[in-house]
């Protein structure tokens, strides 16, 4: 019986409890957010690529419309030899607003490209800034001059004695003729450039050029001349020259970008035709920045900086931030300064100038904003040369915002679903574990104290597999109960059945004895009687368990002193088994307990019988009673062979026999079974152990007081 409960207890070996397993299973729902992220990334990539592709398509279209129209880019038909760089070239920046021509250049963007520094004599120097806006070219000349000399009078411009510091501006006009203007300041304020015309008889005259605005202004270390020139006046080349004098009419010392000998402009003006903007404006869309650069990377014009879309709402809050951190990774550059962004844009231009349209992503000017750029080369009419690059850029915030929204919603949902799934799994696992352990506990305790089985298990009404399990357990237990019942009563039934024929034999023999028999016959009759007596003894032994069970069933419990009982009984064993010595170790004080004293005596008898059976003549059998508040333990130890380890638990089963050979007395191992029954009747248990050193066995009955 105990083997069945062992079988029930031992399940498949596993490191995890069911609850942990189901919890781990529930955690697999965390794959949902992962999949969601993958999807969101995928979506983002698709969006970005389609954005890039459409932007590239637009770029390529615009580039196509500009094919062979270098006059739009460079104001002249002939293709510039862009490749031989000239230090005197002027590359104006494209300003988004017109600067005030007021002699102050502080509102201008400065850029290394549009700044030309020329050192003059005696620590003097010129900084030349250039910019375009719409149809105007703006020049700012920041002159450092230790000794500023004004012209004596604007009226006597050509009187060599009254000439002070002068600034020359020279450029090609549309026909390719050189125009040379000079500016001679007579004080801060507006100033007109004048050209020297030669009239009849070689008379020279200074003629003012009204189309060019200029303002002369004194600065802390010299003076500033700011000039605004309509681009329509200009051809290919332009330059400036400073004629510095220490006093009026003194010998000049010249420096600048013009040839000092003939004032010819050799530095080129790299700026687009004003018509280019008109042309590009037809392609302009809000939020799209359009930049045209020369093939060397000089920016010719720019329309519309990328604007923030109106629906730009970055997700705030802890979770969306976490998601973004988790998602973006290193796909998108971020936190980049304006200069770096420009460098990246220039890099893109330089790459595209080699012939292949391309798209790129730049970090935008706001936190986490991204700019998508596409660039395409502009070809000459014959398609052989690339003379410019057009670049379109727009913020990617639209699809980033879209992605962020979708993702936040998705991740919130998955977090919720995961929490729900984990909670559900936990609940389910807990319930399942509870049900299973309840079933397990019930099946373990199904074997009652008297060896009868309780067939009612929990979960029997459940419709699921646990219900099936419970029901099959119940029917198994039922069958087991029938079988054990059969086994338990088998000996008794057998004894009963055999008793009748045995009675026939015995009574016949007794009758036979009373007849006159020969001596020989008497011997045989005696043998037959001896045999039948033995058979009778066997039958009595076989029925003993049943009688003990009955005796237990009819036993009354009473309070009695176990110590006195054991002391008295132990004293009696000496005379019952004269071949053994008995030592009793019993507490001096009374050990009161509730139970059936007759049964306890019987229990002790059986233990002593057993000890006598397994010990040799002259051996000392020790009987020990020890008392605890709730329990008492009665043990009988005998020297002798140790118990085979595998039988220790089976010794107390019915009909188990482990006895030395050569013993003729009937024995069915019922003695220890009876010990167990009586111990269990007293709310206790029986166990067998080997003495230390395997010198014998100790049988102990534990009784509830």
């Amino acid at each position: 019986m105990s083997r069945i409960s062992e079988l029930i207890r031992i399940g498949p070996i596993s490191g995890f409890r069911l609850r942990t397993k189901l919890l781990l299973l529930a955690l697999t729902t965390l794959a949902l957010p992962w999949a969601g992220c993958q999807y969101a990334r995928e979506m983002e990539t698709v969006l970005r690529e389609s954005e890039q592709q459409s932007l590239l398509a637009v770029t390529t279209t615009i580039a196509g419309s500009l094919k062979g129209r270098q006059q739009l880019l460079f104001r002249t038909d002939p293709l510039l030899a862009m490749n031989n760089d000239n230090a005197r070239d002027i590359t104006p920046v494209v300003l988004s607003g017109a600067p005030l021509v007021d002699g102050r250049a502080d509102e201008w963007d400065t850029d290394s490209r549009n700044l030309i520094r020329i050192a003059g004599p005696g620590g003097d120097s010129l900084q030349l800034l250039a910019a375009t806006h719409e149809r105007w070219l703006y020049l700012a000349l920041l002159v450092r001059d230790g000794k500023v000399i004004y012209d004596a009078s604007a009226l006597s411009a050509l009187d060599s004695a009254s000439i002070g510091d002068r600034i020359w501006l020279a450029f090609d006009d549309k026909r390719g003729d050189q125009q040379q203007l000079f500016f001679g300041g007579t004080g801060s304020g507006k100033l007109l450039g004048r050209r020297i015309e030669t009239r009849e008889y070689g008379r020279e005259e200074a003629v003012a050029e009204p189309r060019i605005d200029a303002v002369w202004q004194r600065s802390s270390d010299g003076y500033v001349l700011e000039i605004g020139i309509p681009l329509s006046l200009l051809g290919q080349h332009i330059g400036v020259l400073i004629d510095d004098r220490d006093r009026r009419g003194a010998t000049r010392s010249s420096y600048g970008t013009l040839e000092v000998s003939d004032l010819r402009a050799t530095g080129r003006l790299i700026a687009a035709s004003p018509d280019l903007n008109d042309h590009l404006r037809q392609f302009a869309q809000p939020g799209v920045e359009l930049t045209v650069a020369s093939s060397t990377g000089a920016i010719l014009t720019r329309i519309d900086a990328p604007a923030l879309p109106a629906d730009y709402t970055r997700m705030r809050g802890f979770l969306p931030r976490m998601y973004r951190l988790f998602l973006d990774g290193d796909v998108i550059p971020r936190g980049v300064s304006q200069a770096e962004r420009q460098r990246a844009a220039a890099g893109l231009t330089a790459r595209v100038a080699r012939g292949k349209p391309e798209t790129a992503l730049f970090a935008g000017r706001y936190e986490n904003s991204v700019i998508v750029a596409a660039a395409a080369p502009i070809y000459s009419a014959d398609g052989k040369h690339i003379f410019g690059v057009i670049q379109l850029a727009q913020t990617a915030d639209r699809w980033l915002t879209l992605r962020d929204r979708a993702l936040t919603r998705l991740l919130n949902l998955t977090v919720f679903v995961t929490l729900f799934a984990v909670a559900a799994a936990f609940w389910f696992a807990g319930r399942m574990t509870l049900r299973i352990s309840r079933l397990g506990a019930a099946s373990e305790t199904a074997l009652g104290r008297e060896g009868n089985l309780s067939r009612v298990l929990p979960e029997a009404d459940a419709r699921d597999e646990l219900g099936d399990l419970s029901r099959s357990f119940s029917s198994l237990l039922g069958r087991l109960d029938e079988y054990t019942g059969y086994l338990r009563t088998l000996a008794g039934k057998l004894a009963h059945e055999i008793r009748t024929p045995l009675t026939i034999i015995r009574s016949s023999l007794e009758n036979l004895e009373s007849e006159g028999n020969s001596e020989n016959a008497k011997v045989y009759i005696a043998r037959a009687r001896e045999g039948s007596e033995r058979l009778g003894a066997i039958l009595t032994a076989m029925g003993a368990a049943t009688r003990v069970e009955e005796a237990i069933a009819h036993s009354d419990r009473q309070r009695f002193d176990l110590a006195a009982l054991v002391r008295a009984a132990a004293g009696a064993y000496g005379s019952a088994f004269p071949a053994r010595h008995f030592s009793a170790q019993v507490p001096d004080e009374a050990v009161e307990m509730t139970g059936a004293p007759d049964l306890i005596v019987q229990l002790l008898d059986k233990l002593v019988d057993n000890a006598v059976d397994f010990s040799a003549d002259g051996a000392t059998i020790s009987i020990v009673l020890s008392a605890e508040p709730a329990h008492a333990e009665l043990s009988v130890a005998n020297p002798g062979p140790p118990l085979p380890p595998e039988t220790a638990n089976r010794l107390f089963e019915s009909l188990w026999q482990s006895r030395a050979d050569g013993d003729k007395r009937p024995h069915f191992g019922l003695g220890l079974y009876i010990v167990r029954l009586i111990a269990e009747f007293h709310g206790g248990s029986a166990r067998a152990e080997n003495q230390p050193g395997n010198t014998g066995a100790v049988f102990t009955a534990r009784l509830t007081r």
Partner: protein, 229 residues
């Protein structure tokens, strides 16, 4: 005139063997295999003593039924249950139905005959006036060894033959411990420990029916029992 013993036993060989033994002792024996035949015969003429098996052919409890019917015919007729069953419950039921003794078939024929003789002696003794010399008095106890009757405080305690012999053995030498073997010998039975224990228990209970405070039979653990006055 020969005394008549009726044996109601469905196992023919046993019936005949018992019949032979009783005949040898000088009794007239009549055997019946079942309740029906037995009752038919008893209705015509009662035997002097009946030995009844409990299970009779198709009636597992036929002996009990027969005992009840027989007792209603004659309150004095000695009845002995003789059975292969040895369960406590059967013994209690049999004795409650008024049987004089309840024996298992382990009992030897000699012991059985001794009992039968004793029961006949008691029937005879009951017909005669009581003889004082056969009576043992021990405090509240009065024990007539001839009539096999016991009184406690003047009230009759109805004991079976086996129980009477046990009480008799205990009271012959009050204070002396009688072990189980001695009690079995005295009662002419072969019983195991549990059966002796339940006999003792039943004896105490029967005395307690007439006196709740009865406590004369003491258990001496490991040794046996003794009568304490």
């Amino acid at each position: 005139m020969k005394k008549t013993i009726a044996i109601v036993e469905d196992e023919r060989a046993i019936r005949d063997n018992y019949a032979a033994a009783f005949s040898r002792e000088g009794y007239a024996v009549r055997g019946y295999p079942n309740r029906r035949e037995a009752m038919a015969a008893f209705a015509a003429r009662l035997p002097d003593l009946a030995v009844i098996d409990i299970s009779l052919e198709d009636e597992p409890e036929g002996g009990f039924e027969l005992c009840r019917e027989l007792r209603s015919l004659s309150p004095e007729l000695p009845i002995i249950f003789l059975t292969a069953r040895d369960s406590e419950l059967d013994a209690v039921s049999g004795l409650r139905l008024g049987a004089d003794d309840f024996l298992t078939k382990d009992l030897s024929l000699a012991h059985l005959i001794a009992r039968v003789n004793a029961l006949f002696r008691r029937v005879d003794a009951l017909r005669r006036p009581a003889e004082e010399k056969q009576v043992i008095r021990r405090g509240a106890l009065t024990l007539d060894s001839e009539r096999m009757s016991v009184e406690w405080n003047g009230q009759v305690v109805l004991l079976s033959l086996t129980e009477f012999w046990i009480v008799y053995a205990l009271t012959k030498n009050p204070g002396h411990v009688k072990n189980r073997q001695q009690l079995m010998d005295a009662a002419n039975v072969v019983l195991d420990d549990n059966t002796i224990t339940s006999h003792i228990k039943r004896i105490r209970r029967k005395f307690q029916v007439v006196d709740e405070k009865f406590d004369a039979v003491h258990t001496v653990y490991g040794m046996g029992y003794r009568w304490v006055e």
